[in-house]
């Protein structure tokens, strides 16, 4: 009896050791690393479980969780080599941010301003160069006039731009055309205000 008990204790120890080794080999169960933004600023992540909440707000600091009933660990700075080891693969994947263009219109019309007409070839070049098949074209209006009329104008503007892109060879299935009327102002104004910067179509090339 006594012998059996000591045997099973021994096995428990061995199992415990094996478990520890396995944990050390693959690191914590869940790990979160805050990175600086491309402009150098640093945001914030909030990691939460039933054990508590942890905020990480310093670049290259991590918090991790092994036991979900315990709060995430105290934030700690990771060394560059440690970051490479844990996150190297995912950090090497490059994703290009989308490109945004804004085209402006003459008051109450779906007619591009002269400067905006000159921007169109650059949009087309970007679409071709990125071989994009996901392009958003969103029409907007200022608050001058009624909401219904502005919705109609913003729709005409978006359709005009989409038509131009299609005429230049862009596949229509790559275009997502929507219109926001006067509900999504670039420059906030009161109602019934003529604001050239709100009379626009936003084109996003992904």
């Amino acid at each position: 009896m006594n012998h059996d008990a000591s045997m099973s204790t021994k096995w428990l120890w061995i199992l415990g050791w094996l478990g520890m080794m396995a944990m050390m080999a693959c690191g914590p169960k869940a790990q979160f690393l805050l990175l600086p933004n491309s402009d150098g600023t640093v945001g914030k992540i909030v990691v939460q479980n039933s054990g508590g909440t942890r905020v990480v707000d310093q670049a290259y600091h991590e918090t991790h969780v092994d036991d979900p009933t315990l709060a995430p660990s105290e934030p700690r700075r990771m060394s560059p080599s440690e970051i490479q080891e844990t996150f190297g693969d995912v950090l090497r994947i490059s994703v290009r941010p989308p490109e945004h263009f804004i085209l402006y219109f003459r008051e109450g019309t779906a007619e591009l301003t002269t400067e905006s007409k000159d921007l169109v070839p650059r949009i087309l070049q970007t679409i071709r160069e990125r071989r994009s098949n996901d392009i958003s074209v969103v029409g907007h209006a200022d608050t001058k006039g009624s909401a219904e009329v502005n919705f109609r104008i913003s729709k005409q503007r978006a359709e005009m731009v989409a038509g131009m892109l299609q005429a230049a060879g862009v596949d229509p299935t790559s275009l997502d055309v929507t219109s926001h009327g006067e509900r999504n102002l670039l420059i906030p104004t009161a109602d019934d205000v003529s604001e050239p910067r709100n009379r626009r179509v936003e084109v996003t090339v992904r």
């Binding site: 693959c26 690191g27 914590p28 169960k29 869940a30 790990q31 979160f32 690393l33 805050l34 990175l35 600086p36 933004n37 491309s38 640093v42 945001g43 914030k44 992540i45 909030v46 990691v47 939460q48 479980n49 969780v65 092994d66 979900p68 995430p72 844990t86 996150f87 693969d89 995912v90 950090l91 090497r92 994947i93 490059s94 994703v95 290009r96 941010p97 989308p98 071989r131 098949n133 996901d134 958003s136 997502d176 926001h180 009327g181 509900r183 999504n184 996003t204 992904r206």
Partner: protein, 150 residues
Amino acid sequence: MKTLFRLILLPFLCVGWMASSGMAEPETIGVVQTVSGQSSLIRGERPIAVHSGLKLQENDILETGADGALGIVLRDDTLLSIGPDSRFVLDRFAFSPAEEKLGFAARLSRGTVMVVSGQIAKMAPESVQIETPRALLGIRGTRFAAKVNE
């Protein structure tokens, strides 16, 4: 009696579901930009091979193999990198600022991901959430990486 009632109801429910799912084309929430190694998209029942230019929808599940890597751009400018041996679920995504519908919820079940948060995180930070089996992650306009070993 109850069972009978259910049996009668069932065909109607099915028709209702078919009609509603056939009505609107599922909305595109993002696009795959870079692919390397093995990866698959699980949409409904059948896995599809991932290729660059593949348009993504809500509830899509992305899985990468031991050599797999994916680069994704979502409609609100969020950038996602999914590393090898990963499973990432795009549960919910709403980006309609004009209707004030904003939100992004995803799940990292295993593997690694890097996220550069987009406009939803800027406009409605509280509505962006990434779930992992052991913790929930909130984002306040930022770039971060996460790893899950299960």
